[in-house]
C-alpha cells in the first residue's frame, strides 16, 4: 500500500461514515454538519485525482454557500422527532419500494459498460504547469458554450421565478429609501433661526 492508497482509503471511509451519519443521526443539525464533512472529504478525493478546480468549486459552492443556507434553515426549525416518526410503518413499504427502484437504477448505470475500467482509463499524471481550471474554461467556452449558456439561462429563470413567488408588495410597510435620504439638502431638514439672547432675571 503506497501513501496515495492510504490517503484514499482514509478519505473514502470518512465519506462513507459521514454519509451514513447523515441519514441515521437524530439531530438534524448533526446531519447537516456531517453532510458538510462528506463534501469536504470528497473534495479531498478529487484533489487526489488532480481535479483541483472541481474540488475547490465543490467547497466554494456547496460547503461555502448552499450548506450554510441549509444549516441556517435547519437550525431555525423546531423539529419534533416523535411527530415525524408517526406512521413510519404505514409508509415503510412505499419507501422501501422507492429505495429498491433507486438502487436498481443506480446499479444499472454504475455497473454498465460506460463505467467499466476498459472504457474509463486511469487519468494520466499531468505536468506541474498543467492548469485544470484553464482547460475546463477553454472547453466550456468553446465546445460546450451553447449548453453552458442554456444552463445559465435556466438557472436565471429559476432565480427570477423564486424571487417573483416570494416578492410581496406591501403598502403598510415602512422602509427607508437610501437614495432619497442622500439627496436631501440641508434646507429641507434644518432651519436656522436667530434668537436674541435673553436677559438673566
Amino acid at each position: 500500500m503506497i501513501f496515495q492508497d492510504f490517503v484514499f482509503y482514509s478519505l473514502a471511509s470518512v465519506v462513507i461514515i459521514s454519509a451514513l451519519g447523515v441519514i441515521t443521526l437524530r439531530n438534524p443539525v448533526y446531519s447537516v454538519l456531517l453532510l458538510v464533512l462528506a463534501f469536504v472529504t470528497s473534495s479531498g478525493l478529487w484533489i487526489l485525482l488532480e481535479a483541483e478546480f472541481l474540488a475547490i468549486a465543490l467547497v466554494v459552492v456547496y460547503v461555502g454557500a448552499v450548506m450554510v443556507l441549509f444549516l441556517f434553515v435547519v437550525m431555525m426549525l423546531d423539529i419534533n422527532l416523535d411527530q415525524m416518526r408517526e406512521g413510519f410503518w404505514k409508509w415503510f413499504p412505499f419507501g422501501a419500494i422507492l429505495a429498491f427502484i433507486m438502487t436498481v437504477e443506480m446499479s444499472m448505470v454504475l455497473m454498465s459498460k460506460q463505467f467499466s475500467s476498459e472504457i474509463i482509463q486511469t487519468p494520466e499524471y499531468k505536468s506541474v504547469d498543467y492548469s485544470n481550471t484553464k482547460e475546463l474554461g477553454r472547453l466550456i467556452y468553446t465546445e460546450y458554450v451553447y449548453v453552458f449558456e442554456l444552463a445559465a439561462v435556466i438557472l436565471l429563470v429559476a432565480m427570477v421565478a423564486a424571487i417573483a413567488i416570494t416578492l410581496r408588495h406591501r403598502t403598510d410597510k415602512k422602509s427607508s429609501n437610501a437614495s432619497r435620504q442622500i439627496a436631501v439638502s440641508r434646507n429641507e431638514r434644518l432651519k436656522v433661526i436667530s434668537m436674541p439672547a435673553e436677559k438673566k432675571e
Partner: protein, 365 residues
C-alpha cells in the same frame, strides 16, 4: 532540510519515507508560518488599542513591560492577555450542545489559518505554490462562517443565535461581491496563482499595480473584506448595543480567545490579499535604486501594515451600519458595480491591439 530525506527513507522504506518526509517537512513549514502569524495577531491587538487610544486622545495600555524596562510600557500587554486567557475557565452553559459548542471555535480558526498555505511572501517564499491559489483562498474564506453559525446555535441563547444569523447572511452577501472583484484581478493577470498575479503587476512603478486600473474593485474588495471579517462598521454580528456580544456571548476563556484570534487572523489575511492582488505584493512602489534594494518581504509587510491601519482607522471613525443598510450596500451597490466593471473590463480587453496602443499612457492592457 532535504538532507534528512535519506534518514526517513531508511526508517520507513523508500515508498513511505518520501511521503512521510514531505509530511514532516510541511508540518515544520506550517509552524514557521503560524507562529509569526499568531505573534502578529497578538501585537495587532496591541496596535489596535494603542492607535484607537491615540485617535481618542487617550494613552492606551502602558503598564505591562518586559523585565521592568520603562520605555517598553504596554508591550507586554498582549502576552499578559494571552496568559490570562489560557488560565481562565471555559464555562459551558447548561443548555448548550457541548460538542458543537467546543467545535465552533476550532471551525472558526481552521480556515483562517489554512488560507495562509498559498500566500506568497516573496517570489520563492511560499508554502504551496499551486495553480488554483485564488480559488483556494475563496474556498477557505467561505468556510469561516461555520464557526460563527455553530457557535450561535450551540450556545442555546437568543442573542448568540441572532448574532449568528446576522453574520451568516452578511458573510454570504459580501462573498459574492468579493468573488466578483477578484474575477477582475484574474482577468487582468490571466492566472489564478498568487505569485503570477504579483508578477503581472511588474513594470517599474506603482502605476502598474492593479489598484490603478481596478480602483473601484479595490474598494469593493477591501470593504467586503471588512464586512466579511465582521469588523466595524459592519460588526452587527457582535453589535454590543443590540445583542450584547452576538455569537460569542456565552464563550469565555480560551474558547473566546480562539474566536478573537480567528477574527484578527482573518483581518491580516484580508490585508495581505489586498496587498498581493491590488498593491503589487512584494514589488517596490518605484523600481529605482534606494527602493529596490529593500527586500520584497519588507515591502509586503509594509503594505499589510498600511491596510491593517485602515481597519483600525475605520473602527475608530465610523458609526455602525444598520442591518438593512449593510444588506443594501452588498446587494444593491457592490454587486452591480462589480458586474458592470467585469463587462467593461472584458470589453476593453477584447479591443484590437491597435486601438489599445493608440490610447495615451496605457500601461495595463
Amino acid at each position: 532540510m532535504d538532507s534528512f530525506q535519506p534518514l526517513f527513507e531508511q526508517l520507513f522504506g523508500s515508498e513511505w519515507g518520501v511521503s512521510l518526509f514531505l509530511l514532516a517537512k510541511n508540518l515544520l513549514l506550517i509552524l514557521a508560518i503560524i507562529i509569526p502569524l499568531l505573534l502578529a495577531v497578538a501585537y495587532l491587538t496591541f496596535a489596535e488599542r494603542k492607535i484607537i487610544a491615540f485617535m481618542q486622545v487617550r494613552v492606551g495600555p502602558n503598564r505591562v513591560t518586559f523585565f521592568g524596562i520603562p520605555w517598553l510600557g504596554g508591550w507586554g500587554q498582549p502576552i499578559a492577555d494571552a496568559v490570562k486567557a489560557i488560565m481562565k475557565e471555559i464555562i459551558i452553559p447548561t443548555g448548550a450542545n457541548k460538542f458543537l459548542f467546543l467545535l465552533a471555535p476550532i471551525l472558526a480558526i481552521t480556515p483562517a489559518l489554512a488560507a495562509w498555505a498559498v500566500v506568497p511572501f516573496s517570489p520563492e517564499l511560499v508554502l504551496a505554490d499551486i495553480n488554483a491559489a485564488l480559488l483556494y483562498i475563496l474556498a477557505m474564506t467561505s468556510l469561516g462562517v461555520y464557526g460563527v453559525i455553530i457557535a450561535g446555535w450551540a450556545s442555546n441563547s437568543k442573542y448568540a443565535f441572532l448574532g449568528a444569523m446576522r453574520s451568516a447572511a452578511q458573510v454570504i452577501s459580501y462573498e459574492l461581491a468579493m468573488g466578483f472583484a477578484l474575477v477582475c484581478v484574474l482577468m487582468m493577470s490571466s492566472s489564478l496563482n498568487l505569485g503570477d498575479i504579483v508578477a503581472g503587476q511588474q513594470g517599474g512603478s506603482f502605476l502598474n499595480w492593479y489598484m490603478i486600473p481596478l480602483f473601484p474593485m479595490f474598494l469593493v474588495y477591501f470593504i467586503s473584506g471588512v464586512a466579511e471579517t465582521n469588523r466595524l462598521p459592519f460588526d452587527v454580528a457582535e453589535g454590543e448595543s443590540e445583542i450584547v456580544a452576538g455569537f460569542h456571548v456565552d464563550y469565555s476563556g480560551m474558547a473566546f480567545t480562539i474566536f478573537f484570534l480567528a477574527e484578527y487572523a482573518n483581518m491580516i489575511l484580508v490585508a495581505t490579499l489586498a496587498s498581493i492582488m491590488f498593491l503589487g505584493g512584494w514589488l517596490p512602489p518605484v523600481d529605482i535604486i534606494p527602493f529596490n534594494l529593500i527586500p520584497g518581504v519588507v515591502w509586503l509587510l509594509l503594505k499589510i501594515a498600511i491596510m491593517l491601519f485602515f481597519f483600525l482607522w475605520f473602527r475608530a471613525t465610523f458609526p455602525r451600519y444598520r442591518y438593512d443598510q449593510i444588506m443594501r450596500l452588498g446587494w444593491k451597490v457592490f454587486i452591480p458595480i462589480t458586474l458592470i466593471w467585469i463587462v467593461l473590463l472584458g470589453a476593453v480587453m477584447q479591443l484590437p491591439e491597435a486601438a489599445l496602443q493608440s490610447f495615451p499612457l496605457n500601461l495595463w492592457f
